[in-house]
Homo-oligomer: 316 residues x 2
């Protein structure tokens, strides 16, 4: 099959890539999304070698469960050992021995086929299009914030970052909190957020220091945490979603003095994300900038890396 | 009166320093402690100018409340505006307009006298000596951890740092958690902790990566957070007590990927600290390395700054 392989230095399209033999379910990938983490992996994050890609929707081709064959599915990306203390608590995504689709010791979604254990797969409701379903994984990452913490509806919330993840996080927070402000840098991205009814500010122009009970850092930039630390109230909650390959230089004293609760947040629960898409609580179509074939991967990744871009999809 | 004044570049003993006129309670300082924050202020932290020092025990000399005169007291160091949203919630220590004894726009305790509002003062139980009472402020900072978070007694806890604050934090955690390990670097300091019944490890020799539900960073070093991040379990609680003047270079990805809860923690409640001293739940005498007069301030600060030292006291 055709697959986009990263050898640690560069991406290339391999035409006769072989799926690793296993007893997992085989999924034919219909559509896959390029994520900020993919771009960081190309810069060296996580030391990954293999087929890239972890956001996808597809159709089950082979499975030990005959009822699953032909079903449209999305998939949770962490595969745990099944026996450690985290796996026993249904926290496979923190299993120290886990593999992760397209991120850690497991081939990913920028290919014609991928494999995952059956328990990782979720069937997609009929009224959710492929273009919407491919956002399940990043949307689940936004829902993770609600799983980790109690969010008080009377809080004032801010999101740092107007990109793909910032947009989804702002929409998810808006289902719980009445006042959500997005701090961004790109007119077009902020206009899209405004069309969704969200208040946006340019981070260099309007700034409310220590004015928010909850701040989510989703900028994907090393400078984002300092911005977020300036926005959050003393004793407030600062959720950190950005993973970057580079070390960040940061004066931690304000976090200590203001007793900020800084919460790392990563992959999240798929079911609330699928339900939100099905109920149209969260809108994702406006985030798609282009769809490319596997062969056009070079253009696709250039497009995804450029500052103004939201989501780039790949159709294998 | 005599007072140790910091002009932004150096400390000096001023012989005829005048207390600022105010209607606060006047306390004659019996004993004061040099804290890591004092040493950081001398390096530029917080931009403070004035009389240094914020750990003290003393005797009330003048007060609008006649019953207070002659009483032995310790004092909370944050003085709020009294009207903002934090002050209304009894969180003066987060008032954005606060002054802080010897740290922010308020003369401190390395002087014959200091002033504080009556509400900041707590009388010291008779069975607590001056040498013990002077530890109330740093001990309250250790108790702040219990005020901020629910600590599960079945957790495994680690403290990074075998110094003054690490020692107090380890003792306080031991009142709640059965298993507390201290990671240090100094044989003498670790021997003192072992005499208190605590398990100690040299941070370079024995290390249990991601083995602790709760890790408290109290090393006072810029490298401490990276050590703590390696000790804490995924989804664990990492309490950050260290304030340093320097920026820290840190790869934040492990905190995000492991969804660590990083909690800044500063000043704490005085009453539990005084009660713990009175009930001998926490022992502090073993931490005192030397007592100096105000005139010996230069020797005192040199002693406090040297690597092997625990607590240095000043008797004005």
């Amino acid at each position: 099959m055709r697959a986009l392989y990263f050898d640690g230095r560069s991406l290339s399209l391999v035409k006769d890539y072989q799926l690793k033999p296993c007893d997992e379910t085989v999924v034919r990938v219909s559509l896959a999304g390029i994520c900020g983490t993919d771009l960081e992996i190309l810069k060296g994050y996580a030391g990954f070698r293999g087929v890239l890609g972890h956001e996808f929707v597809g159709v089950v081709e082979e499975s030990k469960n005959p009822e699953l064959v032909g079903k449209r599915v999305v998939g949770e990306i962490n595969v745990g050992c099944g026996t450690c203390s985290f796996c026993r608590k249904e926290l496979q995504r923190h299993c120290p021995y886990r593999t992760v689709l397209g991120i850690k010791e497991r081939d990913g979604a920028f290919a014609e086929y991928l494999t995952l254990p059956e328990k990782n797969l979720h069937t997609v409701p009929e009224n959710v299009s492929d273009t919407a379903a491919v956002f399940t994984e990043p949307l689940a990452a936004a829902y993770e914030i609600l799983e980790q913490s109690h969010i008080d509806p009377s809080w004032r919330a801010a999101v740092v970052g107007d990109g793909r993840l910032g947009n989804l996080v702002a929409q998810v927070l808006s289902t719980v909190v009445h006042e959500v402000h997005v701090y961004g840098r790109h007119k077009r991205k902020m206009d899209i957020l405004r069309d969704l009814g969200l208040k946006c500010f340019h981070v260099d122009e309007s700034f409310e220091p220590h004015g928010y009970d909850l701040v989510v850092e989703a900028s994907g930039k090393t400078t984002g945490l300092a911005t977020a630390a300036n926005l959050v109230k003393p004793r407030g909650l600062l959720v950190l979603k950005t993973t970057v390959a580079d070390a960040v230089s940061l004066n931690l004293s304000p976090l200590v003095v203001n007793e900020v609760n800084l919460l790392g947040s990563r992959c999240g629960p798929f079911q609330p994300a699928l339900q939100a898409l099905s109920k149209k609580l969260v809108k994702v179509q406006q985030l798609v900038d282009a769809v490319y074939s596997l062969e056009e991967y070079s253009t696709a990744f250039k497009h995804a890396s450029s500052a103004g871009t939201l989501k780039i999809l790949i159709r294998p």
